[in-house]
Subunit: 295 residues, 2 copies
Amino acid sequence: MSATPTVGWIGLGAIGAPMARAAATAGLPVTAFDLNPAALTALADVATPAASAAEAATGADVVVLMVATPAQLEAVLHGEHGIVGALTAETTLLIMATVGPAALEEAVRSLTWTTSRIVDAPVSGGTARAATGDLLVMVGGAAEDVARARPVLDALAASAPVVGPRPGDGQRVKIVNQLLCGVHIAAAGEALALAEAMGLDRGQVHEVLGGGAAASFMLADRGARMVAEDYDAVKSALTIFVKDMGLVTEAAAEAGQEVPLARTAAALYRRGDEQGLGAKDDSIVYRLLREGPAD
Amino acid sequence: MSATPTVGWIGLGAIGAPMARAAATAGLPVTAFDLNPAALTALADVATPAASAAEAATGADVVVLMVATPAQLEAVLHGEHGIVGALTAETTLLIMATVGPAALEEAVRSLTWTTSRIVDAPVSGGTARAATGDLLVMVGGAAEDVARARPVLDALAASAPVVGPRPGDGQRVKIVNQLLCGVHIAAAGEALALAEAMGLDRGQVHEVLGGGAAASFMLADRGARMVAEDYDAVKSALTIFVKDMGLVTEAAAEAGQEVPLARTAAALYRRGDEQGLGAKDDSIVYRLLREGPAD
Protein backbone atom coordinates (compact mmCIF):
# COMPACT_ATOMS: atom_id res chain seq x y z
CA MET A 1 0.00 0.00 0.00
CA SER A 2 1.33 3.43 -0.93
CA ALA A 3 1.37 6.34 1.52
CA THR A 4 -1.50 7.89 -0.45
CA PRO A 5 -4.24 5.28 -0.59
CA THR A 6 -6.65 5.10 -3.48
CA VAL A 7 -10.22 5.65 -2.35
CA GLY A 8 -13.46 4.10 -3.55
CA TRP A 9 -16.32 6.28 -2.32
CA ILE A 10 -19.89 5.05 -2.19
CA GLY A 11 -22.63 7.45 -1.10
CA LEU A 12 -22.84 11.11 -2.11
CA GLY A 13 -25.76 12.44 -0.07
CA ALA A 14 -26.04 15.71 1.84
CA ILE A 15 -22.98 14.91 3.96
CA GLY A 16 -21.30 12.32 1.74
CA ALA A 17 -20.86 14.63 -1.26
CA PRO A 18 -18.95 17.41 0.56
CA MET A 19 -16.92 14.74 2.40
CA ALA A 20 -15.88 13.06 -0.86
CA ARG A 21 -14.96 16.45 -2.30
CA ALA A 22 -12.88 17.26 0.79
CA ALA A 23 -11.04 13.92 0.45
CA ALA A 24 -10.32 14.53 -3.24
CA THR A 25 -9.28 18.13 -2.64
CA ALA A 26 -6.85 16.91 0.01
CA GLY A 27 -5.07 14.96 -2.73
CA LEU A 28 -6.54 11.48 -2.41
CA PRO A 29 -7.44 9.78 -5.72
CA VAL A 30 -11.19 9.18 -5.40
CA THR A 31 -13.42 6.97 -7.55
CA ALA A 32 -17.03 7.56 -6.57
CA PHE A 33 -20.47 6.04 -6.99
CA ASP A 34 -23.99 7.06 -6.05
CA LEU A 35 -27.37 5.83 -7.28
CA ASN A 36 -28.17 9.47 -8.08
CA PRO A 37 -26.40 10.37 -11.37
CA ALA A 38 -26.64 14.10 -10.62
CA ALA A 39 -24.57 13.65 -7.46
CA LEU A 40 -21.89 11.85 -9.48
CA THR A 41 -21.83 14.54 -12.15
CA ALA A 42 -21.52 17.28 -9.53
CA LEU A 43 -18.35 15.64 -8.23
CA ALA A 44 -16.80 14.88 -11.63
CA ASP A 45 -14.36 17.81 -11.44
CA VAL A 46 -12.45 16.14 -8.60
CA ALA A 47 -13.39 12.43 -8.65
CA THR A 48 -13.64 9.63 -11.21
CA PRO A 49 -17.26 8.51 -11.60
CA ALA A 50 -17.88 4.77 -11.44
CA ALA A 51 -20.74 2.86 -13.08
CA SER A 52 -21.52 0.84 -9.97
CA ALA A 53 -20.59 0.46 -6.32
CA ALA A 54 -18.55 -2.62 -7.26
CA GLU A 55 -16.60 -0.65 -9.86
CA ALA A 56 -15.85 2.13 -7.35
CA ALA A 57 -14.53 -0.44 -4.89
CA THR A 58 -12.43 -2.42 -7.35
CA GLY A 59 -8.72 -1.88 -6.73
CA ALA A 60 -9.26 0.74 -4.02
CA ASP A 61 -7.04 0.63 -0.92
CA VAL A 62 -9.79 2.17 1.21
CA VAL A 63 -13.49 1.84 0.41
CA VAL A 64 -15.64 4.46 2.13
CA LEU A 65 -19.32 3.74 2.68
CA MET A 66 -21.47 6.79 3.40
CA VAL A 67 -25.00 5.52 2.95
CA ALA A 68 -28.09 6.48 4.96
CA THR A 69 -29.54 3.32 6.48
CA PRO A 70 -28.72 -0.25 7.57
CA ALA A 71 -30.73 -1.54 4.58
CA GLN A 72 -28.60 0.52 2.19
CA LEU A 73 -25.44 -0.76 3.85
CA GLU A 74 -26.61 -4.33 3.33
CA ALA A 75 -27.52 -3.61 -0.30
CA VAL A 76 -24.18 -1.96 -1.08
CA LEU A 77 -22.31 -4.89 0.42
CA HIS A 78 -24.31 -7.86 -0.79
CA GLY A 79 -27.03 -6.63 -3.18
CA GLU A 80 -27.01 -6.69 -6.96
CA HIS A 81 -23.82 -4.86 -8.10
CA GLY A 82 -22.73 -4.94 -4.44
CA ILE A 83 -19.07 -4.59 -3.56
CA VAL A 84 -18.40 -7.84 -1.73
CA GLY A 85 -16.84 -9.46 -4.82
CA ALA A 86 -14.55 -6.45 -5.31
CA LEU A 87 -13.05 -6.56 -1.81
CA THR A 88 -9.84 -8.41 -1.00
CA ALA A 89 -8.14 -9.27 2.27
CA GLU A 90 -6.09 -6.09 1.77
CA THR A 91 -9.05 -3.75 1.30
CA THR A 92 -9.79 -1.49 4.25
CA LEU A 93 -13.51 -0.88 4.52
CA LEU A 94 -14.28 2.45 6.19
CA ILE A 95 -17.94 2.56 7.19
CA MET A 96 -18.81 6.18 7.94
CA ALA A 97 -22.59 5.87 7.81
CA THR A 98 -24.58 6.01 11.05
CA VAL A 99 -26.20 2.57 11.08
CA GLY A 100 -25.95 1.61 14.75
CA PRO A 101 -23.79 -1.06 16.38
CA ALA A 102 -26.10 -3.98 15.52
CA ALA A 103 -26.01 -3.36 11.75
CA LEU A 104 -22.28 -2.68 11.90
CA GLU A 105 -21.60 -5.98 13.63
CA GLU A 106 -23.85 -7.80 11.18
CA ALA A 107 -21.81 -6.30 8.33
CA VAL A 108 -18.56 -7.45 9.99
CA ARG A 109 -19.93 -10.99 10.35
CA SER A 110 -21.11 -11.05 6.75
CA LEU A 111 -17.61 -10.15 5.53
CA THR A 112 -15.69 -12.69 7.59
CA TRP A 113 -14.34 -14.52 4.52
CA THR A 114 -13.76 -11.31 2.53
CA THR A 115 -11.88 -8.79 4.62
CA SER A 116 -11.38 -8.30 8.32
CA ARG A 117 -9.99 -4.79 7.81
CA ILE A 118 -13.11 -2.95 8.85
CA VAL A 119 -13.10 0.43 10.54
CA ASP A 120 -16.29 2.12 11.59
CA ALA A 121 -16.14 5.87 11.70
CA PRO A 122 -19.47 7.71 11.87
CA VAL A 123 -19.32 11.48 11.71
CA SER A 124 -20.85 14.49 13.41
CA GLY A 125 -20.81 18.10 12.32
CA GLY A 126 -23.15 18.70 9.38
CA THR A 127 -22.61 19.72 5.77
CA ALA A 128 -20.63 22.91 6.43
CA ARG A 129 -17.97 21.14 8.46
CA ALA A 130 -18.02 18.21 6.02
CA ALA A 131 -17.07 20.61 3.23
CA THR A 132 -14.10 22.02 5.13
CA GLY A 133 -12.80 18.63 6.32
CA ASP A 134 -13.60 19.71 9.85
CA LEU A 135 -15.87 16.89 11.08
CA LEU A 136 -15.78 15.03 14.36
CA VAL A 137 -15.24 11.37 13.47
CA MET A 138 -15.63 8.60 16.05
CA VAL A 139 -13.40 5.70 15.11
CA GLY A 140 -13.72 2.05 16.12
CA GLY A 141 -11.31 -0.61 14.89
CA ALA A 142 -7.98 -2.39 15.23
CA ALA A 143 -4.94 -0.10 15.34
CA GLU A 144 -3.42 -1.49 12.14
CA ASP A 145 -6.64 -1.04 10.19
CA VAL A 146 -7.19 2.46 11.53
CA ALA A 147 -3.63 3.32 10.44
CA ARG A 148 -4.50 2.32 6.87
CA ALA A 149 -7.60 4.52 6.92
CA ARG A 150 -5.82 7.41 8.64
CA PRO A 151 -5.01 9.47 5.48
CA VAL A 152 -8.73 9.48 4.65
CA LEU A 153 -9.73 10.33 8.24
CA ASP A 154 -7.19 13.16 8.34
CA ALA A 155 -8.61 14.64 5.16
CA LEU A 156 -12.14 14.68 6.58
CA ALA A 157 -11.84 15.36 10.27
CA ALA A 158 -10.66 18.05 12.64
CA SER A 159 -10.64 15.26 15.21
CA ALA A 160 -10.90 11.49 14.68
CA PRO A 161 -10.17 9.80 18.00
CA VAL A 162 -10.13 6.02 18.26
CA VAL A 163 -12.85 5.30 20.81
CA GLY A 164 -12.50 1.55 20.95
CA PRO A 165 -10.84 -1.48 19.31
CA ARG A 166 -14.05 -3.02 18.00
CA PRO A 167 -15.62 -2.06 14.68
CA GLY A 168 -18.90 -0.84 16.18
CA ASP A 169 -17.37 1.26 18.92
CA GLY A 170 -17.51 4.29 16.64
CA GLN A 171 -21.21 3.58 16.16
CA ARG A 172 -21.64 3.28 19.91
CA VAL A 173 -20.14 6.69 20.57
CA LYS A 174 -22.17 8.17 17.73
CA ILE A 175 -25.29 6.70 19.35
CA VAL A 176 -24.41 8.50 22.59
CA ASN A 177 -23.78 11.67 20.58
CA GLN A 178 -27.18 11.40 18.91
CA LEU A 179 -28.90 10.75 22.24
CA LEU A 180 -27.54 14.05 23.51
CA CYS A 181 -28.23 15.95 20.26
CA GLY A 182 -31.77 14.59 19.94
CA VAL A 183 -32.65 15.31 23.57
CA HIS A 184 -31.03 18.77 23.48
CA ILE A 185 -32.94 19.81 20.33
CA ALA A 186 -36.23 18.69 21.87
CA ALA A 187 -35.31 20.41 25.17
CA ALA A 188 -34.64 23.66 23.30
CA GLY A 189 -38.05 23.32 21.64
CA GLU A 190 -39.73 22.62 24.95
CA ALA A 191 -38.00 25.53 26.69
CA LEU A 192 -38.84 28.08 23.98
CA ALA A 193 -42.40 26.75 23.69
CA LEU A 194 -42.86 27.19 27.45
CA ALA A 195 -41.36 30.70 27.28
CA GLU A 196 -43.83 31.64 24.55
CA ALA A 197 -46.76 30.01 26.40
CA MET A 198 -45.93 32.06 29.52
CA GLY A 199 -46.01 35.32 27.56
CA LEU A 200 -42.25 35.87 27.38
CA ASP A 201 -40.26 37.07 24.37
CA ARG A 202 -38.75 33.78 23.23
CA GLY A 203 -36.02 35.57 21.26
CA GLN A 204 -34.85 37.34 24.38
CA VAL A 205 -35.08 34.17 26.44
CA HIS A 206 -32.93 32.43 23.85
CA GLU A 207 -30.36 35.21 24.10
CA VAL A 208 -30.38 35.51 27.91
CA LEU A 209 -30.07 31.78 28.60
CA GLY A 210 -27.63 30.99 25.81
CA GLY A 211 -24.53 31.91 27.79
CA GLY A 212 -25.25 30.34 31.17
CA ALA A 213 -25.86 27.00 32.84
CA ALA A 214 -28.67 26.25 30.36
CA ALA A 215 -26.36 26.54 27.37
CA SER A 216 -26.01 23.83 24.76
CA PHE A 217 -24.74 23.75 21.20
CA MET A 218 -28.26 22.83 20.11
CA LEU A 219 -29.92 25.63 22.10
CA ALA A 220 -27.68 28.09 20.27
CA ASP A 221 -27.97 26.48 16.84
CA ARG A 222 -31.50 25.04 16.57
CA GLY A 223 -32.86 27.55 19.10
CA ALA A 224 -32.05 30.37 16.65
CA ARG A 225 -34.05 28.57 13.95
CA MET A 226 -36.93 28.05 16.40
CA VAL A 227 -36.97 31.77 17.17
CA ALA A 228 -37.00 32.54 13.42
CA GLU A 229 -39.49 29.72 12.70
CA ASP A 230 -37.99 28.93 9.31
CA TYR A 231 -38.36 25.20 8.84
CA ASP A 232 -38.03 25.08 5.05
CA ALA A 233 -34.35 26.09 4.85
CA VAL A 234 -33.56 22.52 5.90
CA LYS A 235 -30.12 22.10 7.42
CA SER A 236 -30.95 18.86 9.23
CA ALA A 237 -34.14 17.00 8.38
CA LEU A 238 -36.42 15.75 11.15
CA THR A 239 -36.33 12.28 9.59
CA ILE A 240 -32.64 11.91 10.56
CA PHE A 241 -33.57 12.01 14.23
CA VAL A 242 -36.51 9.68 13.68
CA LYS A 243 -33.93 7.17 12.44
CA ASP A 244 -31.14 7.99 14.89
CA MET A 245 -33.28 8.09 18.05
CA GLY A 246 -34.60 4.70 16.91
CA LEU A 247 -31.00 3.47 16.82
CA VAL A 248 -30.46 4.96 20.30
CA THR A 249 -33.42 3.22 21.90
CA GLU A 250 -32.59 -0.03 20.08
CA ALA A 251 -28.97 0.03 21.26
CA ALA A 252 -30.09 0.92 24.79
CA ALA A 253 -32.52 -2.00 24.88
CA GLU A 254 -29.76 -4.28 23.63
CA ALA A 255 -27.43 -3.00 26.39
CA GLY A 256 -30.12 -3.20 29.07
CA GLN A 257 -29.86 0.53 29.84
CA GLU A 258 -32.95 2.63 30.52
CA VAL A 259 -33.00 5.89 28.49
CA PRO A 260 -36.24 7.63 29.50
CA LEU A 261 -35.36 11.02 28.01
CA ALA A 262 -34.25 9.51 24.70
CA ARG A 263 -37.50 7.54 24.55
CA THR A 264 -39.53 10.68 25.18
CA ALA A 265 -37.62 12.63 22.52
CA ALA A 266 -37.89 9.70 20.07
CA ALA A 267 -41.68 9.73 20.46
CA LEU A 268 -41.71 13.45 19.68
CA TYR A 269 -39.70 13.02 16.46
CA ARG A 270 -41.94 10.14 15.41
CA ARG A 271 -45.01 12.30 16.06
CA GLY A 272 -43.59 14.97 13.74
CA ASP A 273 -42.89 12.37 11.09
CA GLU A 274 -46.42 10.98 11.37
CA GLN A 275 -47.73 14.51 10.85
CA GLY A 276 -45.84 14.66 7.55
CA LEU A 277 -43.00 16.89 8.78
CA GLY A 278 -40.13 14.45 8.17
CA ALA A 279 -38.53 16.57 5.43
CA LYS A 280 -38.70 19.81 7.47
CA ASP A 281 -35.80 21.10 9.56
CA ASP A 282 -35.67 19.29 12.90
CA SER A 283 -36.11 22.61 14.72
CA ILE A 284 -39.81 22.22 13.89
CA VAL A 285 -40.13 20.29 17.18
CA TYR A 286 -40.70 23.76 18.67
CA ARG A 287 -43.85 24.20 16.57
CA LEU A 288 -44.89 20.63 17.29
CA LEU A 289 -44.67 21.24 21.04
CA ARG A 290 -46.44 24.61 20.85
CA GLU A 291 -49.35 23.01 19.03
CA GLY A 292 -49.55 20.15 21.49
CA PRO A 293 -50.40 16.49 20.97
CA ALA A 294 -53.29 15.58 18.69
CA ASP A 295 -56.49 14.69 20.55
CA MET B 1 -33.30 57.69 48.33
CA SER B 2 -29.54 58.05 48.20
CA ALA B 3 -27.48 56.72 45.30
CA THR B 4 -26.23 53.96 47.59
CA PRO B 5 -29.32 52.18 48.91
CA THR B 6 -29.34 50.54 52.30
CA VAL B 7 -30.00 46.83 52.04
CA GLY B 8 -31.95 44.50 54.30
CA TRP B 9 -30.95 40.93 53.44
CA ILE B 10 -33.00 37.92 54.46
CA GLY B 11 -31.72 34.46 53.67
CA LEU B 12 -28.10 33.34 54.00
CA GLY B 13 -28.10 29.84 52.55
CA ALA B 14 -25.60 28.22 50.18
CA ILE B 15 -26.14 30.93 47.54
CA GLY B 16 -27.57 33.70 49.72
CA ALA B 17 -24.53 33.98 52.00
CA PRO B 18 -21.94 34.59 49.26
CA MET B 19 -24.39 36.94 47.51
CA ALA B 20 -24.87 39.03 50.67
CA ARG B 21 -21.11 39.14 51.14
CA ALA B 22 -20.61 40.26 47.53
CA ALA B 23 -23.19 43.05 48.03
CA ALA B 24 -21.50 44.25 51.21
CA THR B 25 -18.03 43.99 49.71
CA ALA B 26 -19.24 46.15 46.80
CA GLY B 27 -19.92 48.91 49.32
CA LEU B 28 -23.62 48.52 50.05
CA PRO B 29 -24.60 48.82 53.75
CA VAL B 30 -26.18 45.44 54.51
CA THR B 31 -28.25 44.42 57.54
CA ALA B 32 -28.83 40.68 57.42
CA PHE B 33 -31.01 38.01 58.98
CA ASP B 34 -31.15 34.24 58.80
CA LEU B 35 -32.83 31.67 61.07
CA ASN B 36 -29.42 29.99 61.33
CA PRO B 37 -27.30 32.01 63.82
CA ALA B 38 -24.06 30.52 62.45
CA ALA B 39 -24.79 31.99 59.01
CA LEU B 40 -25.27 35.42 60.59
CA THR B 41 -22.06 35.18 62.60
CA ALA B 42 -20.10 34.13 59.52
CA LEU B 43 -21.17 37.34 57.80
CA ALA B 44 -20.62 39.67 60.78
CA ASP B 45 -17.34 41.04 59.43
CA VAL B 46 -19.14 42.77 56.56
CA ALA B 47 -22.84 43.02 57.53
CA THR B 48 -24.87 44.11 60.56
CA PRO B 49 -26.73 41.14 62.07
CA ALA B 50 -30.43 41.66 62.81
CA ALA B 51 -32.49 39.86 65.44
CA SER B 52 -35.37 39.14 63.06
CA ALA B 53 -36.43 39.44 59.44
CA ALA B 54 -38.56 42.45 60.39
CA GLU B 55 -35.58 44.17 62.00
CA ALA B 56 -33.43 43.55 58.89
CA ALA B 57 -36.15 45.10 56.71
CA THR B 58 -36.85 48.14 58.87
CA GLY B 59 -35.56 51.31 57.24
CA ALA B 60 -33.94 49.51 54.31
CA ASP B 61 -34.28 51.01 50.84
CA VAL B 62 -34.06 47.59 49.22
CA VAL B 63 -35.08 44.39 50.98
CA VAL B 64 -33.61 41.26 49.41
CA LEU B 65 -35.34 37.92 49.96
CA MET B 66 -33.20 34.88 49.22
CA VAL B 67 -35.15 32.03 50.79
CA ALA B 68 -35.53 28.49 49.49
CA THR B 69 -39.22 27.78 49.02
CA PRO B 70 -42.63 29.41 48.47
CA ALA B 71 -43.57 28.48 52.04
CA GLN B 72 -40.52 30.30 53.38
CA LEU B 73 -41.36 33.34 51.26
CA GLU B 74 -44.87 33.42 52.73
CA ALA B 75 -43.47 33.04 56.26
CA VAL B 76 -40.90 35.82 55.85
CA LEU B 77 -43.57 38.16 54.51
CA HIS B 78 -46.53 37.39 56.73
CA GLY B 79 -45.45 34.96 59.43
CA GLU B 80 -44.54 35.70 63.03
CA HIS B 81 -41.73 38.35 62.95
CA GLY B 82 -42.48 38.69 59.22
CA ILE B 83 -41.47 41.84 57.38
CA VAL B 84 -44.83 43.11 56.12
CA GLY B 85 -45.14 45.63 58.95
CA ALA B 86 -41.65 46.96 58.25
CA LEU B 87 -42.27 47.73 54.58
CA THR B 88 -43.42 51.12 53.34
CA ALA B 89 -44.63 52.37 49.97
CA GLU B 90 -41.01 53.41 49.31
CA THR B 91 -39.44 50.04 50.06
CA THR B 92 -38.27 48.10 47.02
CA LEU B 93 -38.69 44.39 47.59
CA LEU B 94 -36.19 42.36 45.58
CA ILE B 95 -37.25 38.73 45.54
CA MET B 96 -34.26 36.68 44.37
CA ALA B 97 -35.47 33.25 45.51
CA THR B 98 -36.64 30.74 42.91
CA VAL B 99 -40.26 30.25 43.96
CA GLY B 100 -42.05 30.06 40.61
CA PRO B 101 -44.41 32.58 39.00
CA ALA B 102 -47.50 31.45 40.96
CA ALA B 103 -45.93 32.06 44.39
CA LEU B 104 -44.43 35.33 43.18
CA GLU B 105 -47.79 36.62 41.99
CA GLU B 106 -49.41 35.52 45.23
CA ALA B 107 -46.78 37.53 47.14
CA VAL B 108 -47.47 40.59 44.96
CA ARG B 109 -51.21 40.30 45.64
CA SER B 110 -50.65 39.91 49.36
CA LEU B 111 -48.62 43.14 49.46
CA THR B 112 -51.06 45.32 47.50
CA TRP B 113 -51.63 47.71 50.43
CA THR B 114 -47.99 47.67 51.54
CA THR B 115 -45.69 48.26 48.57
CA SER B 116 -46.05 47.89 44.85
CA ARG B 117 -42.31 48.25 44.31
CA ILE B 118 -41.62 44.57 43.78
CA VAL B 119 -38.89 43.24 41.54
CA ASP B 120 -38.36 39.55 41.03
CA ALA B 121 -34.86 38.55 40.18
CA PRO B 122 -34.01 34.87 40.51
CA VAL B 123 -30.41 33.89 39.91
CA SER B 124 -28.41 31.24 38.11
CA GLY B 125 -24.74 30.41 38.45
CA GLY B 126 -24.00 28.60 41.71
CA THR B 127 -22.00 29.46 44.80
CA ALA B 128 -18.70 30.23 43.06
CA ARG B 129 -20.21 32.87 40.81
CA ALA B 130 -22.35 34.16 43.69
CA ALA B 131 -19.15 34.87 45.64
CA THR B 132 -17.59 36.87 42.81
CA GLY B 133 -20.71 38.88 42.00
CA ASP B 134 -20.83 37.11 38.64
CA LEU B 135 -24.33 35.62 38.60
CA LEU B 136 -26.89 35.62 35.82
CA VAL B 137 -29.95 37.40 37.23
CA MET B 138 -33.28 37.39 35.40
CA VAL B 139 -35.20 40.52 36.28
CA GLY B 140 -38.96 41.09 36.09
CA GLY B 141 -40.54 44.38 37.17
CA ALA B 142 -41.45 47.96 36.32
CA ALA B 143 -38.58 50.11 35.01
CA GLU B 144 -38.70 52.57 37.93
CA ASP B 145 -38.58 49.79 40.52
CA VAL B 146 -35.78 47.97 38.72
CA ALA B 147 -33.81 51.24 38.68
CA ARG B 148 -34.06 51.42 42.48
CA ALA B 149 -32.77 47.85 42.79
CA ARG B 150 -30.08 48.30 40.15
CA PRO B 151 -27.15 49.04 42.54
CA VAL B 152 -27.85 45.72 44.27
CA LEU B 153 -28.21 43.85 40.98
CA ASP B 154 -24.97 45.36 39.68
CA ALA B 155 -23.12 44.20 42.79
CA LEU B 156 -24.33 40.62 42.35
CA ALA B 157 -24.55 40.00 38.63
CA ALA B 158 -22.36 39.85 35.58
CA SER B 159 -25.60 40.21 33.66
CA ALA B 160 -29.06 41.19 34.95
CA PRO B 161 -31.32 41.75 31.94
CA VAL B 162 -34.91 42.88 32.40
CA VAL B 163 -36.89 40.06 30.80
CA GLY B 164 -40.36 41.50 31.30
CA PRO B 165 -42.35 44.25 33.01
CA ARG B 166 -44.26 41.96 35.38
CA PRO B 167 -42.90 40.84 38.73
CA GLY B 168 -42.99 37.12 37.91
CA ASP B 169 -41.32 37.40 34.51
CA GLY B 170 -37.94 36.80 36.14
CA GLN B 171 -39.40 33.65 37.67
CA ARG B 172 -40.74 32.60 34.28
CA VAL B 173 -37.34 32.88 32.63
CA LYS B 174 -35.73 31.09 35.57
CA ILE B 175 -38.30 28.30 35.08
CA VAL B 176 -37.22 27.97 31.46
CA ASN B 177 -33.58 27.99 32.59
CA GLN B 178 -34.26 25.22 35.08
CA LEU B 179 -36.13 23.17 32.50
CA LEU B 180 -33.02 23.21 30.32
CA CYS B 181 -30.60 22.62 33.21
CA GLY B 182 -32.66 19.78 34.66
CA VAL B 183 -33.11 18.04 31.31
CA HIS B 184 -29.46 18.55 30.33
CA ILE B 185 -28.17 17.05 33.60
CA ALA B 186 -30.41 14.02 33.19
CA ALA B 187 -29.42 13.74 29.50
CA ALA B 188 -25.74 13.76 30.48
CA GLY B 189 -26.47 10.99 32.99
CA GLU B 190 -28.38 8.98 30.41
CA ALA B 191 -25.67 9.41 27.77
CA LEU B 192 -22.81 8.38 30.07
CA ALA B 193 -24.86 5.50 31.50
CA LEU B 194 -25.50 4.22 27.97
CA ALA B 195 -21.82 4.62 27.08
CA GLU B 196 -20.85 2.55 30.11
CA ALA B 197 -23.56 -0.05 29.42
CA MET B 198 -22.25 -0.49 25.86
CA GLY B 199 -18.72 -1.16 27.11
CA LEU B 200 -17.22 2.22 26.22
CA ASP B 201 -14.84 4.31 28.34
CA ARG B 202 -17.26 6.92 29.66
CA GLY B 203 -14.41 9.32 30.50
CA GLN B 204 -13.26 9.28 26.88
CA VAL B 205 -16.81 9.61 25.59
CA HIS B 206 -17.25 12.64 27.85
CA GLU B 207 -14.09 14.15 26.41
CA VAL B 208 -14.77 13.33 22.75
CA LEU B 209 -18.36 14.59 22.72
CA GLY B 210 -17.79 17.64 24.89
CA GLY B 211 -16.66 19.88 22.06
CA GLY B 212 -19.18 19.04 19.34
CA ALA B 213 -22.87 19.15 18.55
CA ALA B 214 -23.64 17.21 21.76
CA ALA B 215 -22.04 19.87 23.96
CA SER B 216 -23.81 21.49 26.86
CA PHE B 217 -22.68 23.39 29.93
CA MET B 218 -24.13 20.58 32.04
CA LEU B 219 -22.42 17.81 30.04
CA ALA B 220 -19.10 19.54 30.72
CA ASP B 221 -19.82 20.39 34.37
CA ARG B 222 -21.95 17.57 35.78
CA GLY B 223 -20.58 15.07 33.26
CA ALA B 224 -17.13 15.47 34.82
CA ARG B 225 -18.63 14.64 38.24
CA MET B 226 -20.42 11.63 36.76
CA VAL B 227 -17.15 10.34 35.33
CA ALA B 228 -15.49 10.79 38.74
CA GLU B 229 -18.55 9.44 40.59
CA ASP B 230 -18.05 11.74 43.57
CA TYR B 231 -21.50 12.61 44.82
CA ASP B 232 -20.56 13.66 48.34
CA ALA B 233 -18.68 16.85 47.42
CA VAL B 234 -22.08 18.45 46.90
CA LYS B 235 -22.02 21.50 44.66
CA SER B 236 -25.71 21.34 43.80
CA ALA B 237 -28.02 19.07 45.77
CA LEU B 238 -30.47 16.78 43.96
CA THR B 239 -33.27 18.19 46.08
CA ILE B 240 -32.98 21.56 44.29
CA PHE B 241 -34.05 19.96 41.03
CA VAL B 242 -36.81 18.01 42.76
CA LYS B 243 -38.20 21.42 43.75
CA ASP B 244 -37.38 23.30 40.55
CA MET B 245 -38.61 20.67 38.11
CA GLY B 246 -41.81 20.65 40.15
CA LEU B 247 -42.06 24.40 39.56
CA VAL B 248 -41.44 23.81 35.84
CA THR B 249 -44.18 21.24 35.41
CA GLU B 250 -46.57 23.32 37.55
CA ALA B 251 -45.93 26.48 35.49
CA ALA B 252 -46.26 24.50 32.27
CA ALA B 253 -49.61 23.06 33.36
CA GLU B 254 -50.75 26.58 34.28
CA ALA B 255 -49.70 27.84 30.83
CA GLY B 256 -51.22 24.87 29.00
CA GLN B 257 -47.87 23.86 27.51
CA GLU B 258 -46.81 20.22 27.24
CA VAL B 259 -43.28 19.58 28.55
CA PRO B 260 -42.70 15.84 28.09
CA LEU B 261 -38.93 15.94 28.63
CA ALA B 262 -39.23 18.05 31.76
CA ARG B 263 -41.83 15.62 33.13
CA THR B 264 -39.54 12.68 32.43
CA ALA B 265 -36.59 14.41 34.10
CA ALA B 266 -38.75 15.49 37.06
CA ALA B 267 -39.76 11.86 37.63
CA LEU B 268 -36.09 10.88 37.68
CA TYR B 269 -35.16 13.49 40.29
CA ARG B 270 -38.16 12.45 42.43
CA ARG B 271 -37.05 8.82 42.17
CA GLY B 272 -33.62 9.80 43.48
CA ASP B 273 -35.20 11.74 46.32
CA GLU B 274 -37.43 8.78 47.23
CA GLN B 275 -34.30 6.62 47.38
CA GLY B 276 -32.87 8.98 49.99
CA LEU B 277 -30.40 10.74 47.67
CA GLY B 278 -31.82 14.27 47.98
CA ALA B 279 -28.74 15.66 49.76
CA LYS B 280 -26.29 14.15 47.25
CA ASP B 281 -24.91 16.07 44.29
CA ASP B 282 -27.43 16.10 41.43
CA SER B 283 -24.88 14.36 39.18
CA ILE B 284 -25.95 11.17 41.00
CA VAL B 285 -28.66 10.81 38.33
CA TYR B 286 -25.94 8.97 36.40
CA ARG B 287 -25.76 6.29 39.12
CA LEU B 288 -29.55 6.22 39.38
CA LEU B 289 -29.87 5.53 35.64
CA ARG B 290 -27.11 2.92 35.64
CA GLU B 291 -28.84 1.02 38.41
CA GLY B 292 -32.20 1.23 36.68
CA PRO B 293 -35.70 1.60 38.09
CA ALA B 294 -36.67 -0.40 41.16
CA ASP B 295 -38.76 -3.47 40.37
